[in-house]
Amino acid sequence: MGEPSAAGRFGDFGGRFVPESLVPACQELEDAFRAAWVDPAFRAELDDLLHYYAGRPTPVTICRQLSKELGITLMLKREDLTHTGSHKINNVLGQALLAKRMGKRRFIAETGAGQHGVASATAAALLGLDCVVYMGEVDVHRQELNVFRMKLLGAEVISVTSGARTLKDAINDALRDWVASVETTYYCIGSVVGPHPYPFMVRQFQRVVGDEAREQCRELLGGSVPDFVVACVGGGSNAAGTFAGFADTDARLVGVEPEGGAANGRGIAGVVHGMRSNFLQDEAGQIEEAHSISAGLDYPGVGPEHAYLSAIGRATYESVGDAEVLDAFRRLSSTEGILPALEPAHALAWIFRACDSGEIPSGSTVLMTLSGRGDKDVAEIMEILG
């Protein structure tokens, strides 16, 4: 997965569709990111934080029971074991260091499940930034525990009451904040979405997942790459980071979306949140609400690079329903002793289905990114399962 064009495009997708007030800020951010990314001192500081603070590298675990039951080799890239419990920390540490480097002290973020919000609040606490997190009112209720965690970490959480009151609306309000505060504020987007350079930059900060996994798979598989590389897709950051490590191999790349938020599956091209990509929309072009059991995948769009990978056929995008996801959640918990977050349980649900149908032939090697741990979802699941 290479560089976007000078205009920030991956094929037809991407770009920088923002109010004029933000255009100079996006350019400034792009310049700062590019300079930092090739600066050995910046990279060393980031690597240091990823290692000693976030706990990288994360292991790849071969599932002992499930591999046997499914007749495949199932490997999990364990982002659940990072500090704060999901891959979101990789991106946030990069962006928080960048904010400091740019001299911006106020650090704003949107969050769906709360994982990006928690990671942002964490990095802000560590680096002495003032953190404000926008979160849809619906998600504030679904993810009470994460709201409390953010507050403990010193962040201000703003409950967003516009629109559907979920992730899409939290991004809208964060953008509105940024339009007014751009001179002093850094906007830390939590996925590979938004105006250029965010989709590219966030993928670069997340590619540590795929780069590590490539090495680890080589060791585990005696030098080869997995047949399948699978990740869940909300905005698509854990998938983009994972795919980045394998895009130049023969591995089949599969992104898994929720049925009620399958922007690559059912969406059409549009322009929202600063980017041209695929979105769920009605016949007039109004953006529709996504619906899924996991707040982190409740997004009606998808990152532009995924729209591109889908268009050129390099990756395929599948979708699964809530019931399958709950089954997958339970099955991984009870067979392997790992409670996954509901988001990566989507990826696992597809793997189960594909093993059943033969789409994943027995004997295959399959790497799945376990993007986060399930602690945040336990209360919700307790309610659902009764």
Binding site: E20, S21, V23, V179, E183, H273, Q281, A284, G285
Partner: protein
């Protein structure tokens, strides 16, 4: 400049400006209620020089709480781009009509088709606040081909060299965003309004209108000491949300008209 093609909006605004009049462009949300087209007629009578009609979008990132609420109300009534445009085509009030919406609704229909549809409905100009200059090429040529003025925006953060390019590219008028922020009423006039207006006036002979945060006659007068006119949005829409209707809207814009006319 001599080969510059201008559309009906710019011709009209230049003519008014050149005879010494300060320009008022009120904004209302299309499809807000049953009488929104009557509001348009009342605004024209009250002294508007052009009228901006918002086609409501689900995700209006440039708008503050007032216009967001108006958008939600309009959408809940079943308002669509088609319904707004159809009613506009039946609404001839003697001043140019300008559509303001977000790029997704235009891209969804297709730039070429939407430009033609708007032209057929007698819409004279279009403002798309999330389509900055760098992304606007295709839209601007389709709009020009259809005879519609594609208005461009500048902001307080726009650097000089870029501001010059935007002023050169903009058709109809130059929309100078008066402050860093989304639409909404402000009690104090932002000093940045005057600064941005002056920067544009130094660059172009196209009419320069300041919008975002212009809330009352005093602020309009202050801005027009530099700018050619003002766009009045949230302050007007709030009155409509409060149920003041066409009469209240016309009264408010009439006050601003009187304040400007008494000075110039």
């Amino acid at each position: 400049m001599s080969d510059r093609i201008m559309g009906p909006l710019e011709e009209c605004l230049r003519a008014q400006r050149d005879r010494g009049r300060k320009l008022i462009v009120p904004y209302i949300t299309g499809g807000l209620d049953d009488e929104w087209t009557e509001v348009i007629s009342a605004l024209a009578v009250a002294g508007a020089d052009a009228i901006e009609i918002g086609i409501p979008f689900s995700d209006p990132v440039m708008d503050g709480p007032v216009i967001q609420e108006a958008s939600v109300r309009a959408l809940e009534r079943g308002t669509t781009p088609q319904s707004v445009i159809a009613e506009l085509s039946r609404t001839q009030v003697g001043v140019p009509l300008v559509v303001m919406t977000y790029v997704n609704l235009v891209a969804h229909a297709g730039f070429h088709r939407m430009a033609k549809t708007l032209r057929d409905a007698n819409v004279a100009g279009v403002i798309l606040p999330d389509l900055p200059l760098d992304e606007a090429g295709e839209w601007m040529s389709e709009a020009a081909a259809a005879g519609i003025d594609a208005v461009q925006l500048v902001a307080p953060t726009t650097p000089d060299e870029r501001l010059a390019r935007i002023c050169e590219a903009s058709r109809g008028f130059v929309y100078a965003v008066g402050l860093l922020g989304v639409t909404g009423e402000r009690t104090e006039l932002a000093n940045s309004s005057l600064v941005i207006a002056q920067r544009c006036k130094d660059e172009t002979t196209t009419p320069v209108l300041v919008g975002v945060g212009v809330s009352n006659p005093e602020q309009a007068v202050a801005i027009c000491s530099v700018a050619d006119g003002v766009v009045i949005g949230s302050a007007l829409v709030r009155r409509l949300l409060d149920g003041q209707g066409a009469e209240g809207a016309a009264g408010f814009i009439g006050e601003i008209r009187a304040a400007l006319d008494s000075r110039w």
